[in-house]
Symmetry: C2
Subunit: 154 residues, 2 copies
């Protein structure tokens, strides 16, 4: 006979399911923010800025776990949208300090609202108690996770 769902098969593991659901969440979030000319990686950068006050591009590369050259490209785009501003650090003129502009904070708020709408869709089939449990457990798992790691769907 065959394995039951959630048995010893790969499809029953948390790792595999997180991968599938994460890819799904990302694709759908990307579709929602596309009208603002933003992609999930831009929001990750803006979220890091919003959380950590000021940050140099090197700081951000480390926090996001991406190459410094990618931060350049993301910051270029965000700057062209007026969402972030670059200013040279007066004490160390090598450093480019990024800050969210008012418009950037506005965009971030709009995209966060879009994510909350998506949350409703994703969890629509769950009883309220399970929704709360999911939120609580994901918060616990995210607290010690690196901000972003690249990766593909399984």
């Amino acid at each position: 006979m065959h394995e039951a769902e959630g048995g010893s098969g790969l499809a029953g593991t948390v790792a595999y399911r997180l991968g599938v659901l994460g890819a799904l969440a990302n694709t759908r979030f990307a579709a929602r923010i596309e009208p603002y000319d933003l992609k999930p990686r831009h929001l990750a950068l803006m979220t890091a800025l919003d959380a950590g006050r000021v940050a140099s591009q090197q700081d951000l590369a480390v926090r996001l776990g991406v190459a410094p050259s990618l931060v350049v490209a993301l910051a270029d785009h965000l700057e062209s949208l007026g969402a972030v501003a670059r200013t040279r650090d007066a004490r160390d003129r090598r450093r480019q300090v990024l800050v969210l502009t008012g418009h950037g904070r506005e965009l971030l708020g709009v995209c966060a609202a879009a994510a909350r709408e998506l949350d409703e869709e994703l969890t629509a089939a769950l009883p309220a108690g399970d929704r709360a449990a999911l939120d609580r457990v994901l918060a616990a798992l995210t607290s010690d996770a690196p901000a972003v790691e690249p990766g593909d769907a399984p």
Copy 2:
């Protein structure tokens, strides 16, 4: 003042957290199966084969939500490893029917065990009750999700 964690910010949404954790799970799973010359997408294909008995490459492309040309490449690699076998459908000689070999099933089992080990690591910080809740809720969410969607980390 600033937003608290889990407040109205993007970082507090289920969609964003699922994206981050999904990418993390995928990266770490990929690292564990790399010694077998396999990537998560290969495992997705093998899992679909294991679940659905026989399947043509077109069937699999639809199930996995990927282009048929990608199924060709994945099947080529799995065939070279001896994990799947291609056989022409006698009734419709255009169709290539893929089946898991004994070795393929073995590999799938080994990788599923690796995923369970990873599950232990990922959920080590959670109390047992929360682990059970996570497992239950992810199973519910995965049941109606398409097998695999491509996507990036936020």
